[in-house]
């Protein structure tokens, strides 16, 4: 009897070893593709040419626009909430960085999306992001607190004397990320969706803090008062587009 038991046990073990993993009950999940674009007060982003005018009246051009968006939350009034810890590097002049796919989102009709421009302090740690040249070049020096640049917006403007001068709006350091909340239907109930998000660069200089390069100054990095103004304006730079 004991012999038969062992033989049967052997057989069961062998069969069990070859069974494929059972799949859990299927939950419907869909994907969201976020397509990012950039304009400046309705004009297309064009490198280095001084063709833009901000609310303060500064004429300016843009040579660099790099930033991170992260910490996405989709939600609605019926209690559906989806969170993603994806960190997305974006270069406004590099089309290969403008699309973001978020998969496996619980099917629902969401009514808002929130995300950070920049990184939360939990991930704003030097070398915490994958070591590729994009992330490496966004490093914020350890001497200045470490982590990453959240935003690099650089270019030239015409100063009061009509001379071409450089500006560099850099955001970084913990708590200088901007939380953006946008309302709009993102219906992932039945199928994947595309969400078009557009940044208007002029909004970085518009409200609630009017930013004039000649008054506030053309460089923000490490200057808390200026980074605060830029950060607060950042919550209004994105809109959902059809």
């Amino acid at each position: 009897m004991k012999k038969y038991f062992i033989v049967v046990l052997c057989g069961l073990l062998t069969i069990a070893s070859c069974r494929k993993d059972e799949k859990p009950p299927e939950v419907i999940k869909n994907a969201l593709t976020i397509k990012l674009s950039t304009v400046v007060d309705g004009l297309q982003l064009s490198p280095d040419t001084i063709i833009y005018k901000n609310t303060a009246g500064n004429l300016y051009g843009i040579s660099r626009l790099e930033y991170y968006i992260s910490d996405f939350t989709l939600s609605n009034n019926t209690g559906d909430v989806y969170k993603s810890d994806i960190v997305k590097y974006v270069n406004g002049f590099d089309a290969t960085t403008l699309d973001l796919d978020i998969f496996n989102i619980k099917a629902a009709n969401y009514s808002s999306i929130e995300f950070n421009i920049g990184l939360d302090s939990s991930i704003n740690i030097s070398n915490s992001l994958p070591l590729n040249s994009q992330n490496v070049n966004m490093a914020w020096p350890d001497m200045m607190g470490g982590g990453y640049h959240f935003l690099k917006l650089e270019g030239k403007y015409l100063n009061d004397s009509n001379e071409k001068y450089g500006f560099a709006m850099h955001l970084g350091s913990n708590n200088y990320h901007t939380r953006v909340k946008l309302n709009g239907s993102i219906n992932l109930s039945e199928q994947n969706q595309i969400l078009n998000l557009r940044m208007d660069v002029n909004k970085w200089f518009a409200a609630p803090n009017l930013y004039n390069f000649n008054i506030q100054g053309p460089y923000s990095m490490g200057i808390d008062s200026l980074m605060t103004k830029i950060k607060e304006n950042g919550q209004y730079v994105f809109t959902i587009q059809p």
Partner: protein
């Protein structure tokens, strides 16, 4: 043998087999047959470095590296006695002084280290892959290579035919066209150059908490990594280069080779822009800038401190904090910054590649 085992032992063996089978979960084991041909080179990415940009058409192999290394130091490629190392001198971190181009203009020889982490090559980014670089060497300006002589000498050489066979499965050098031969040579050379990874400088060891910097070096580090000197925006750690192009204010007007990136893109916005060079081993790679206009690091720092010139394409960062009016570094600051720059020297690398 089976007959020698008792039933009990047979059952025990059966049970053990089943348990092994269970825990290995019927995983298929892929048995890799012994590989014929070149063996893959074990390229180690230093800690903190970004992923390398390899050319998938030219995978690094031990045999390719061996061939490339031998060619790198061999006059066989030239008709004028030059070797790759004539300009890319190991004693100068694979750089050298100025090269005078056919036009009479000076071009500083870029140093060949950490090339696998670059996205483009040469001062103006002319080359997308380093494999394109050696193809220029055969011209009269460099090696003045005699095609027939090169083929005959390589084919008749005691070692090269077997090295080409091992690295690239070339059984007969004569069977290659000249372009094919140059490509194989180029591939081998660059495989070797890709192995020239420098990542163990004094600064790296400081980062790894293996040593401390001197007080002067620490002051220099603060200048480097803060707005005071603002070196870090272009010379980004760990490569101390950002794989990008900048006009750092060397001139007000840019002509001829000084037009830099413009010569590749033809975009007026790129006039005067050059690839940021790595600062690793910078102590050894003078003269400095794309045209070698500065002989010493003191001259370089003096330029950034008070010599930056404005132009239409100057990088916005270069006008930061009134840089056009100077960084306001005093003599001691400048000495400290240079002391810090010298911590980028990788003595182990230099010793390893002593010619």
């Amino acid at each position: 043998m089976y007959l020698l085992l008792s039933k009990r032992k047979v059952i025990t063996l059966c049970l053990v087999f089943s348990l092994i089978q269970f825990f290995t979960n019927c995983t298929e084991r892929i048995v890799t047959p012994p590989q014929a041909g070149p063996t893959k080179y074990d390229f180690k990415v230093p800690g903190g470095f970004p992923l390398p940009n390899f050319n998938h058409d030219n995978q690094i192999t031990n045999e390719g590296v061996a061939l490339g290394k031998m060619l790198f130091y061999d006059q066989i490629l030239s008709s004028n006695g030059m070797t790759c190392s004539s300009c890319h001198d190991p004693a100068k971190s694979f750089s050298s002084g100025n090269f005078v181009a056919g036009s009479g203009e000076k071009i500083n020889v870029p140093h060949f280290i950490n090339l696998s982490f670059n996205k483009s090559y040469f001062w103006n980014g002319l080359h997308r892959f380093p494999e394109e670089i050696p193809l220029r060497y055969f011209e009269s300006e460099f090696f003045d290579t005699n095609k027939d002589s090169l083929i005959n000498r390589l084919a008749a050489h005691a070692i090269y035919p077997s090295m080409f066979k091992n690295a690239f499965d070339v059984s007969n050098i004569y069977a290659l066209t000249y372009d094919q031969l140059k490509q194989k040579i180029s591939f081998g050379l660059i495989q070797y150059v890709r192995t020239l990874v420098s990542a163990n400088s004094k600064f790296d060891q400081f980062r790894q908490k293996k040593l401390v910097l001197s007080p002067e070096e620490q002051i220099g580090m603060v200048i480097f990594f803060t707005e005071k000197g603002d070196c870090f925006h272009c010379h980004t750690e760990p490569l101390f280069a950002d794989n990008d192009y900048h006009n750092n204010g060397l001139d007000s007007v840019y002509e001829s080779l000084n037009k830099g990136r413009f010569l590749v893109t033809q975009h007026s916005d790129d006039i005067g822009k050059f690839r940021t060079p790595t600062l690793r081993n910078i102590e050894l790679t003078g003269p400095y800038m794309h045209d070698g206009r500065f002989k010493t690091l003191d001259e370089v720092i003096d330029f950034y401190n008070s010599g930056v010139k404005n132009s239409n394409t100057i990088d916005p960062i270069m006008t930061k904090n009134q840089k056009l009016k100077g960084l306001n570094l005093n003599v001691y600051d400048k000495a400290c910054l240079i002391a810090f720059l010298k911590t980028f020297t990788d003595s182990e690398f230099m010793e390893k590649h002593k010619n």
